[in-house]
């Protein structure tokens, strides 16, 4: 059953140095507040998993929290590069970053396999691509009925998955709606699940398009209002596109980046 904790307590209880951590949310509902708490608690040596690393992982990578990144598209959507990600990969700053790189279809299916507790998933993918040459988690299987060779991707089972949702009830049942991305799969694939929410309410009245994660599939819920900013929470906020554009110059330079993180993350909270 989910415990309702402060964000600080929840991160301290569920995230450990060296963990494989997935913070999911496909553009929508990205758990920035939790990521900032991870940075403040000085957790490091993380393997970070996310289809789209986005600014959230640019920040974690730039602060040296990650030793490895598992992903499928690492840009600043609609803006350009993730400069901290590039700097880590190209120059090893602040530390080298190992990569395991997939397509979106492959990553989505790795989470599906993880949520299903199967060791792998099958897709018609990667054909002719050089991607398999750089990954140990892409292989092939042959259909026992037709003989067709298909791609196999290894399940991903994070130690912890962190997601942001609109709300939870007092029992810790979690409700989210809008673009639901791959959050259910990422949460169910993990050993431990941390959900930040905009608010805790008495009752989760049904909402169109909503999914519910029952309390017994979640380990901790923490209230973090606007906890997805600069991403957004449908029904509570809109995407701060200005911030995503502003991130480009902030993140381009190491010192500017560090100063920004000091002012807005380390000394905040």
């Amino acid at each position: 059953m989910a415990e309702i904790l402060s964000l600080r307590e929840a991160v301290a209880a569920l995230v450990r140095p060296g963990d494989t951590v997935a913070m999911e949310g496909f553009t929508h509902l990205i758990p920035f507040a939790a990521a900032h708490e991870v940075i403040r608690q000085g957790l490091t040596d993380l393997t970070l998993v996310r289809m789209t690393p986005d600014v959230i992982y640019d920040q974690l990578i730039g602060m040296g929290a990650a030793r490895k990144l598992v992903f499928s598209w690492g840009g600043n959507p609609g803006v350009g590069s993730l400069h901290r990600f590039r700097d880590a990969v190209e120059n090893g700053w602040p530390r080298p970053l190992e990569l395991d790189e997939h397509s979106h279809a492959g990553m989505a299916n790795r989470y599906v396999a993880g949520a299903s507790r199967l060791p792998f998933a099958v897709l018609r993918g990667y054909r002719g691509s050089d991607l398999p040459s750089r990954s140990d988690t892409i292989s092939t299987v042959r259909c026992p009925f037709t003989g067709e060779e298909l791609a196999a991707v290894a399940a991903v089972n994070p130690d912890v998955t962190v997601i942001h949702a609109q709300r939870a009830d007092r029992a810790g049942n979690v409700q989210l709606w809008g673009l639901v991305g791959v959050q259910k799969e990422a949460a169910l694939a993990a050993e431990r699940v941390l959900v930040t929410v905009e608010e805790v309410v008495d009752e989760l009245d049904p909402r169109p398009g909503a999914i519910v994660l029952p309390s017994w599939s979640v380990h901790a819920v923490a209230v973090a209002p606007d906890g997805a900013h600069p991403s957004y929470t449908a029904g509570y906020s809109v995407r701060d596109n200005d911030f995503y554009q502003a991130w480009d110059p902030i993140s381009r330079d190491r010192d500017t980046f560090l100063a920004w993180m000091r002012a807005h993350v380390l000394e905040a909270a």
Binding site: R86, G125, D130, L131, G178
Partner: protein, 253 residues
Amino acid sequence: MTWTSDELMTVNAARALAGARTCFVGIGLPSAAANLARRTIEPGLVLIYESGTLGSKPARLPLSIGDGELADTADAVVSVPEIFNYWLQAGRIDVGFLGAAQVDRYGNINTTVIDRGPGRPEGRLPGAGGAPEIAASCGKVLMVLRHSRRNLVERLDFVTTVGHGSGPGDRARLGLPGAGPVAVITDLGVLRPDPETAELVLTELHPGVTAEQAREATGWKLRVAPDPGVTRPPAPAELAALRELSDRGAADA
């Protein structure tokens, strides 16, 4: 009326969607083109974004593929695994519309890494995203990108996404169900695969552009169709629709 070369490119990219019923839309230039098509030549066009929206009808250009308006205006919102497995992989989508960092003469795409020469680390690009499976499974593929020797290259540093592989028959050999790239729309003109060789050939030039300019801006020895067409200038309605879309996007961003 005057227009920019980017506007020429986008208007022609939108026109290439005539007759399409469904389009899997990449962010950036493809999204601008697909949204323009829905406002001009193909009002019924169903826009599908990898964030899980089927039938998005945004009033402005989204900055990201996950802007709230894409979900709010959609006929249906599904999970990301579902959009890739049940809708894309299943072959339900007519056109995949992609941008690209590097494209070779067979329409193969690199969005992963750039070789910067001996002793220098690879340059990092964003990665594959949805492209490998979009290019594999959609009925056909359109690409839109700016014409330069950096973008249209002799040899890819990395094959992220297969277009026509190394020529005719390669898609079938690899088991790629869709027809692959049928047009690459740039700010100079339009390239289409030669039906015999699958090599991209310049078949159309935008008004005021010469074949020499296109050759100059291409990293391989570009073949030009015997009598390349000239694209129609943007109609006032096309330009107005494009500018309205962009202004709304810009005002909002």
